[in-house]
């Protein structure tokens, strides 16, 4: 009986278009259980399964394996000839925080002021952002939205204490639906010694003496230190009494989990010297550090390994920092860090370019990184680094069903996304770009 049902269900799906499948998924009686059968499954938690089944139930992965039974009533998707992967995870973005870079009214990614530990990305993520459907159509199923992290054409400030980064899935009616974790890390743009700048008033490059730049760096670093030390005292005070015993300070309160070592700091630094300074600072203050950016992480790889500092690298498709660096300096870095035993993930550090995440991972693979590490650098490794590996990053029972079903290697430019599951729901790959394409493809010929 169940065999017959299965056979019929398979036939039905084969005859249906993705749109029809979606339509049935969106009715009130939507199936909450799905089974992807006969697909090659890359769980990233072990070796690939050549002919396996993934069962999705109530938003979670219920079972994965070569001999998994399809539950009665499950919507079956024939995965023959297709490949199944965990959805990609973009570890640094301004997703939902910025719509049109040049229009400040649509940008909420950077608050003014230098110390804003209590601002939280999740508060300002617009679930209706056109970037979300565009991005998920490229196979990215979850992101970290990072305040004060710049981005293409960003003119916003880069606060030293930038606020809290939030992780969310790229589908849902509200942020409450989408949110994976509201507070994932505290952003620190580590102070640097800057001698060159661009003066907007005169539209010219400005240069100042090194000593002057260093003085400002020291002032910023002292202020940052002061914040952390005050937060430590504050955290001790909270530990010794109720909030009625002292005056509440929401900024210091936001830093309390940081000084307690519960919330990691996501520290943006690119130059070797700045990374060294940041590692030294976090070591001294006993902060759990994640490096972000890391253009010259290779110069301090031994330090990063010995201090167990993971890195979220900016896109490898970035020109070298210095004129006399090898032309492929950033392309080679993931392989070099892997060899040195430094844990890393890749991020787009952007919003509209988020969909180049897979392309970047493939380019790293073309320059010495193994295919397995390239895939994991945009799935499992960001999940591990950000402390979310219990929810996303691999195809394992109990994890969020953020899954992509593709025609092949998800990092390759021409691979098609066949089915997209986010939070266990079969999710549309329709988006603003596809709609405009279809509309203007239909313009009558002259």
């Amino acid at each position: 009986m169940s065999d017959r049902f299965l056979y019929r269900a398979t036939l039905v799906v084969a005859a249906c278009s993705y749109a029809a499948l979606l339509a049935s998924a969106q009715t009130p009686q939507a199936a909450t259980t799905y089974a992807i059968t006969h697909a090659k499954i890359f769980t990233l938690a072990g070796s690939a399964i050549d002919d396996g089944t993934v069962v999705i139930k109530d938003g979670k992965i219920a079972a994965v394996g070569a001999s998994v039974e399809v539950p009665t009533g499950a919507q079956v998707i024939d995965g023959k000839g297709l490949q199944v992967y965990p959805g990609l995870f973009d570890a640094v973005t301004q997703m939902g925080l910025s719509e049109i870079g040049a229009v400040s009214a649509t940008v909420d990614s950077s608050e003014t002021g230098n110390f804003n530990p209590d601002v939280v990305a999740a508060t300002a993520v617009s679930p209706s952002s056109e970037h979300i459907p565009v991005t998920r159509a490229s196979g990215i199923t979850e992101v970290l939205a990072v305040p004060a992290s710049g981005g293409f054409d960003s003119s916003g400030g880069r606060a030293i204490l930038g606020g809290q980064a939030s992780a969310f899935s790229l589908a849902g009616w509200t942020m409450d639906d989408m949110q994976i974790k509201r507070s994932v890390a505290m952003v620190i743009n580590f102070p640097t010694i800057v001698t060159r700048s661009f003066d907007l008033a005169t539209l010219s490059r400005k240069e100042r003496p090194y000593a002057e730049a260093k003085l400002e760096y020291e002032k910023n670093l002292n202020e940052l230190t002061d914040w952390i030390e005050r937060a430590r005292h504050y955290a001790q005070a909270i530990g010794h009494g109720g909030p009625s015993d002292f005056e509440r300070d929401v900024k210091l309160e936001a830093l309390a989990p940081v000084v307690r070592g519960q919330l990691p700091v996501l520290v943006f630094a690119d130059r070797a010297r700045d990374i060294r300074n940041a590692v030294e600072f976090c070591d001294k203050q006993k902060l759990k550090m994640i490096l972000a950016g890391g253009s010259e992480a290779y110069k301090v790889k031994d330090l990063l390994r010995s201090k167990n500092v993971p890195v979220i690298l900016r896109p490898v498709l970035t020109l070298p920092v210095d004129e006399d660096d090898p032309y492929d300096r950033l392309l080679n870095q993931p392989a070099e860090l892997t060899e040195a035993g430094v844990k890393f993930a890749l991020g787009s550090f952007d919003n509209s370019f988020a969909r180049r995440l897979g392309q970047n991972a493939a380019n790293a693979a073309a320059h010495g990184l193994s295919q397995d590490d390239a895939l994991k650098s945009v799935t499992l490794y960001p999940a591990q680094i950000l402390g979310l590996a219990d929810q996303v990053g691999t195809l394992e029972p109990g994890k969020l069903a953020n899954i992509i079903v593709t025609s092949g290697d998800p990092l390759e430019l021409t691979t098609e996304l066949k089915y997209l599951f986010i939070r266990g729901q079969l999710t549309s790959t329709d988006n603003r770009h596809k709609r405009l394409f279809e509309k203007y493809s239909g313009r009558p010929n002259p």
């Binding site: 090194y210 073309a366 430019l413 021409t414």
Partner: protein, 473 residues
């Protein structure tokens, strides 16, 4: 000698070092033969396990086998792919200083050809990405911008050798948000005319009205002189209008930056009114909305692969743009507008197969023969055919893949980028840099000892690094 000078010297030495190995081999006239390659000719199909014979910088023979002279340098491309050199129809590399003469709305006096910098490291980096020809454009701050030049990426040659001999010069126009300075107004600064798309059109019409009168004045003068009038007074020369007269005479191409469909049609109208043709629209992110009009006007479109949402006029940008325009009969190219983007134009072209379903051949055309047609240099470059320039790229696999890596890039038959040699030379360059830095440090120390009052103590280690690079910006 300050540290910055020292670093400039190190840089120069490294540049020499990088290319020193490749300049000499092979010399101009010595033949080169590439064997066992999968040759994607672009215009004549694919040749499996084929060969290319290069003589005097030109492609002498292409086919399953070629008769190579005994003294030919052999490049064994077993398992590799050879494609025509990539042509980047929108580039700002090799320009010394700023790309925008942004102070005025008609800056046709400025010329990128006069400020070429052959030492720009981005020439080498883009060669390493397979680019062999680039359209060096002025910026987009002006309705009518500066004059432009097509160059070959002849790394190691002086600036005078960079311009592409047969290419017509161009001029940059710009429409929309940039010339109207939408995103660039600063507190306290007066607004510059134009500030609307209406004003952009008026600026172009006004300039061409002047140019037409100026041309008539010269035509009349020349007629008089030809008729024997030796006393006819010559009109006063106007360097701003001369390039526009060349546009009217079809001697200079117009490359116009644009985004929105309405402004695209506007410029087609204005050009028609004055009797000139727009050669290419650049960016043209809404080109897919007016593809039929573009095809009818015979204007090329040079666009991005998937950039969007960085400003309002880029909000309707779609990655299907190149494919949709191609399907409607427009000659389309994918460009970089950026030194980094230029290093992977092959990947950017590949995206048009996924977005809009172009074939492999059509996608490859977007970065080879199509930009060659747009720049009027398709008789010399853009495909692998006998008689064409030997501008070639050797990839380790199909170039329309994110995993493809350039192995060699040839310009005029000379290997100007060789990945193996680049990798092999790195240790020596590293050592040379270290030695030079040590020498500089020692010299500074000595200078400090002899003139203690005049020289500040040289910064050490990291500080030297920071000072030389100006810190992180």
């Amino acid at each position: 000698m300050n540290l910055r000078c020292c670093f400039a010297a190190v840089g120069a030495l490294i540049l020499l070092g990088t290319s020193g190995a490749t300049w000499a081999t092979p010399p101009d006239s010595s033949p080169v033969v590439i064997r066992n390659a999968t040759i994607l000719t672009v215009t004549k199909g694919t040749i499996e396990r084929g060969s290319i014979l290069i003589k005097d910088g030109k492609i002498a023979e292409v086919g399953p086998s070629v008769k190579a002279p005994k003294d030919a340098t052999v490049i064994d491309a077993e398992g590799k792919f050879v494609v025509p050199g990539i042509i980047d129809c929108h580039s700002h590399i090799a320009i010394d200083g700023s790309v925008n003469e942004g102070s005025i709305s008609v800056s046709s006096i400025a010329n990128t050809a006069e400020v070429l910098n052959s030492d720009d490291i981005d020439i080498y980096r883009d060669l390493a990405g397979g680019v062999t020809t680039a359209n060096i454009l002025h910026g987009s701050a002006n309705s009518i911008g500066g004059q432009t030049v097509v160059i070959k990426l002849r790394w190691g040659q002086p600036a005078s050798k960079l311009p592409f001999e047969d290419a017509l010069p161009g001029i940059k126009f710009a429409l929309g948000e940039n010339p109207k300075r939408s995103n660039f107004s600063l507190p306290g600064q007066p607004k510059r005319y134009p500030a609307t798309r209406m004003g952009v059109e008026e600026t172009i019409r006004a300039a061409f009205t002047e140019a037409r009168d100026y041309k008539n004045a010269w035509d009349t003068y020349r007629k008089k002189v030809a008729g024997g009038d030796k006393n006819a007074p010559a009109p006063r020369r106007d360097l701003r209008l001369e390039p526009l007269v060349e546009v009217l005479e079809g001697k200079r191409y117009v490359h116009s930056h644009c985004y929105r469909e309405d402004e695209i049609l506007m410029l087609i109208r204005v050009a028609k009114e004055f009797g000139f043709k727009v050669r290419t629209f650049q960016h043209i992110l809404e080109g897919y909305k007016v593809a039929d009009e573009l095809a009818a006007a015979g204007i090329g479109a040079s666009t991005f692969s998937d950039w969007w949402a960085y400003k309002v006029e880029a909000y309707d940008a779609i990655p299907y743009n190149a494919a949709l325009m191609t399907r409607r009969g427009v000659v389309v190219s994918i460009n970089s507008d950026d030194a980094e983007e230029a290093t992977h134009l092959n990947q950017e072209a590949a995206k048009s197969m996924k977005f809009g379903g172009l074939t492999h051949d059509e996608a490859l055309k977007l970065i080879t023969i199509n930009p060659a047609i747009q720049l009027g240099i398709d008789k010399r470059v853009g495909s692998i055919e006998v008689g064409k320039d030997a501008d070639l790229v050797v990839y380790d696999r199909d170039p329309l893949s994110a995993y493809a890596v350039v192995q060699k890039t040839l310009v005029d038959g000379r290997v100007l980028f060789d990945r193996d040699k680049d990798l092999a030379g790195r240790a020596a360059l590293e050592k040379e840099k270290k030695d030079l830095l040590a020498k500089e440090k020692a010299a500074a120390k000595k200078a400090g000892e002899t003139k203690p009052d005049e020289k500040p103590k040289p910064p050490s280690g990291d500080d030297a690094e920071a000072s030389a690079n100006g810190g992180v910006q």
